[in-house]
């Protein structure tokens, strides 16, 4: 096990890669009641097209990664959740564009719960009858998301930034696409992606690192895995972009989003990620004069927010809110973005302030077992974790912001998206 020490926070992080390829990251938290573990597979909604374990090109129905996540719990005669529950643990799972995570949190029976987690995710059991039954549940889940105008706006904006890639469909797929999923599809996806070498187990909480690692190693000996294979994903590089999109929903007021599509080559660089995050804070946080101007003129309100999502293969920012003046919203946000880099020299003090703010937010994350576990890094970013990030943030300069910002903010990469209320309102 490799030990990473962070004496300024009294924290240590341990990392080990097992013989079968599984990466284990452990962070003991003294004084906490809870232990939280997440087993994450590098497989998400954008991994729809791939060369399968038996060397065939597969194009799967949209939403299969999420469908698989649901079906993993359902075993022969029981549900994995029942076992967790027996040991007082609560369990859950979620699927994103490029990851599927299974997790539990417990205050007792760590060994039993870890075994349950590894067993249920690594041992598939599907049949067509059970697969068909799940379709009704997931259809309702999809309808629930579609009913949420803010989520709709967010995902629709992403789809317009990446119309020619697998990011162009909702993570859960559509009511229509999930109807096509069969148990054979699930087995194929599981065999291809759920290899230990494509997984990472994070354990944070009241644990002894050596002891829990031993539990994991013992458990892995019981499973038979196919030899590790390189995963071949077929992900078209997005070249197109839809600059403007509008539609109507049952909403009271107009909702607007401005999207910025980043260069997919840059997402691997942690300094790029942190610089762009700080830049957006300088431009749009409540600390900024821009925010004050837009707020006091009624162009934005408390619903205003922004978000930068940075991954190995794609990165984008979304700036969104409710507004009575959609045109002014879009024009002003674009203007602020386009002028951002040339104005940066005036923002040296602001950068220091925003860095303080970010460092404080990172310290806040350290309080939470779950949030810590979700910020321990992985092989996509060389395992840079939240403790490392604080040091990196400290060292970021206005020049970094200029350099990365000018690569990020390009007129031809900015889009807008509007949801209008039905006119009879």
């Amino acid at each position: 096990m490799i030990e990473f020490k962070y004496p300024q926070y009294n924290e240590n992080v341990y990392k080990e890669q097992l013989k079968n390829g599984l990466t284990v990251v452990i962070e003991p938290k003294k004084g906490f009641q809870k232990t939280y573990a997440s087993l994450t597979v590098k497989y998400g909604s954008i991994d729809n097209t791939f060369i399968s374990y038996d060397d065939e090109k597969k194009e799967m129905p949209a939403g299969i990664a999420h469908f698989l996540e649901h079906k993993m719990f359902d075993k022969d005669g029981y549900d994995a959740m029942d076992i967790f529950s027996k040991y007082g643990a609560s369990s859950n799972a979620f699927t994103s564009f490029n990851r599927t995570s299974y997790l539990f949190s417990c205050t007792n029976y760590i060994k039993e719960n870890l075994n349950t987690l590894l067993d249920f995710v690594q041992e598939p059991y599907f049949n067509d009858k059970k697969v068909d039954k799940e379709k009704g549940i997931i259809a309702q889940e999809i309808k629930m998301y579609n009913n949420d105008p803010n989520a709709s706006l967010y995902f629709n904006t992403i789809q317009n930034m990446y119309p020619d890639s697998h990011l162009n469909v909702d993570i859960a797929g559509t009511v229509k696409s999930i109807k096509k999923i069969t148990s054979d599809d699930l087995y194929t996806a599981h065999k291809t992606f759920y290899q230990p070498s494509n997984m990472q187990l994070n354990i944070v909480g009241n644990v002894n690192p050596e002891k829990v690692l031993k539990i994991v190693m013992e458990n892995q000996k019981k499973h038979n895995f196919l030899p590790a294979q390189k995963i071949k994903r077929i992900q078209p590089l997005s070249k197109r972009i839809n600059y403007f999109n509008q539609r109507k929903m049952d909403v009271f007021g107009t909702k607007v989003a401005v999207g910025i599509k980043g260069d997919s080559e840059l997402g691997k660089d942690i300094k790029y990620e942190l610089s762009i995050s700080l830049l957006l804070e300088i431009l749009f946080s409540e600390d900024s004069d821009n925010y004050a101007y837009l707020y006091n003129n009624g162009i934005i309100d408390d619903s205003f927010g922004f978000d930068f999502d940075c991954n190995k293969n794609f990165n984008f920012a979304i700036i969104a809110g409710d507004t009575e003046y959609p045109n002014d919203f879009i024009m002003n946000i674009k203007k602020i973005l386009i002028n951002a880099i040339s104005n940066l020299d005036n923002y040296i003090d602001e950068l220091e302030l925003i860095k303080r703010e970010e460092i404080g937010q990172h310290i806040l994350i350290m309080n939470s077992i779950e949030a810590t576990a979700n910020n321990l890094g992985d092989s996509d970013n060389n395992f840079v974790n939240l403790f490392d990030e604080v040091n990196l943030i400290n060292n970021i300069t206005i020049d970094n912001l200029k350099e990365y910002g000018s690569k990020f903010i390009l007129d031809e990469n900015i889009i807008s998206n509007v949801i209008f209320p039905y006119s009879d309102k």
Binding site: Y9, N146, Y291, A292, D302, G360
Partner: protein, 419 residues
């Protein structure tokens, strides 16, 4: 430590060094008064926006950044018959930030004092620009709650269930209420809040009590005339009312309310907690296992038990065409529990999960403070061990018996289903 600084103003401190922050909560407590709903909601917003020391939103936000990303916000909450403005503030423990910031806690308490005691006022009225903008934002917010169908349908269910009681009225008031208030009305209301509301400040983290006290003592809060307490709500039983409202949406929301006269200090309170968990309050529940897993009719179908108001509410997202079917499944599951049809192993699991989540509260500073707050409001002094014992000792018979007490009163269907 629990300390009364003046009558109706208390300070509660919890020392815990496992967290890297110091978490502060300030609660302003008064009985629900429908006439003041809009004023109170606006006051919470104004607290969050600016004050005499930080007269613009930007200055206030920058002060928070200066305090190393202190997080700050206000909430409006309802506890039975009480309305609470909650001010949340947290700062990193100075130990964990570079440089010497020993006075960060002082700065945070001073900041709290600015919010509470130094509003941005001129000529006996709140600053007009600030007031008007926040008023119009609140009106927009209230009009837009229909955007969130899940939330909106739960608001409507409460409105129909509680009929004329203030507990059922939307806590942020209605749009027309706002039309009638101006910045001087709002300032008069603020003065009455500062004079009469009961106040409770809670601090959790690693700090020194005496030093904290020296900061808190600067907040000038006089003795209160009245101490406000929780009142029971007794529901007037009636025939079941079914209300359907049409909306343009991809899904329908089915919400149901049962009168369930069990309260936090009733003998069968723990049986009621378990009944709720078994019925629809956990992933082992009858509703999850049936409405979702067996019949595939919903992604979620949950029940919630409110022991301040003696009510149980169910919410679920479904296709409108299945509304009757879902209702009859819910009813069947309730009957099953009343007939003692409860699996012993599931009961054991549910108990284990409840005990585990109770323990886990101590890992979250905000939840710990919330638990302390509720206990003090309800005058409840149960130790964790006693709580676990009480949960453990509940039998199937007791659950079946308490389940007899529920009585369906209101069904609200927000009918969507555009395909």
């Amino acid at each position: 430590m629990q300390k009364y600084i003046s009558n109706g103003f208390s300070l509660n401190t919890i020392h815990e060094d496992k967290f890297k922050t110091i978490t502060i909560t300030c609660d302003l407590i008064e009985p629900l008064n429908i006439n003041d709903f809009a004023k109170r909601a606006l006051l919470a917003e104004l607290f969050e926006t600016n004050n005499a020391d930080y007269p613009t939103q930007t200055k206030l936000a920058r002060q928070l950044s200066k305090m190393y990303g202190a997080s700050f916000g206000t909430n409006l909450l309802r506890y039975g018959n009480l309305s609470i403005i909650r001010i949340n503030l947290s700062i990193p423990n100075p130990k964990f930030i570079p440089g010497n910031h020993a006075l960060l806690l002082r700065d945070a308490i001073n900041f709290l004092n600015s919010i509470l005691m130094r509003p941005l006022v001129s000529n006996n009225a709140f600053d007009n620009d600030t007031f008007n903008l926040q008023k119009s934002n609140m009106q927009k917010y209230i009009s837009s709650i229909t955007d969130d169908k899940q939330y909106y349908s739960s608001v409507k269910l409460k409105e129909y269930y509680y009929q004329n009681d203030n507990r059922g009225k939307f806590l942020f008031g209605d749009v027309s209420q706002y039309d009638k208030i101006n910045s001087s009305d709002e300032y008069q209301y603020y003065k009455s809040v500062i004079k009469q509301d009961n106040l409770r400040i809670s601090v959790l983290g690693d700090f020194d009590d005496e030093t904290l006290m020296s900061y808190i003592n600067q907040i000038n809060i006089s003795n209160r005339d009245k101490i406000y307490k929780i009142d029971y709500y007794k529901h007037a039983e009636s025939e079941v009312k079914c209300i359907t409202e049409d909306t343009n949406a991809t899904q329908s929301n089915l919400n149901m309310a049962y009168n369930f006269p069990v309260y936090y200090d009733s003998d069968d309170f723990f049986a009621a907690l378990l009944f709720n968990a078994i019925f629809g309050g956990s992933s082992q529940s009858k509703l999850f296992k049936n409405v979702r897993e067996k019949y595939s009719l919903a992604y979620y179908a949950n029940s919630m038990f409110n022991s301040l108001n003696g009510v149980m509410m169910i919410n679920s997202g479904i296709d409108a065409s299945n509304a009757k079917k879902v209702q009859s499944i819910i009813n069947e599951q309730l009957k099953a529990i009343q007939n003692k049809n409860i699996n012993v192993d599931i009961l054991k699991s549910v108990k284990a999960e409840m005990i585990s989540s109770k323990k886990a509260i101590l890992d979250n500073p905000r939840q710990s403070l919330e638990q302390e707050f509720a206990n003090s409001l309800l005058n409840r002094k149960l130790s964790f061990e006693q709580w676990c014992e009480n949960i453990d000792s509940v039998s199937i018979d007791e659950i079946a018996k308490v389940a007899q007490k529920v009585d369906l009163q209101t069904v609200f269907l927000l009918k969507g289903d555009n395909k």
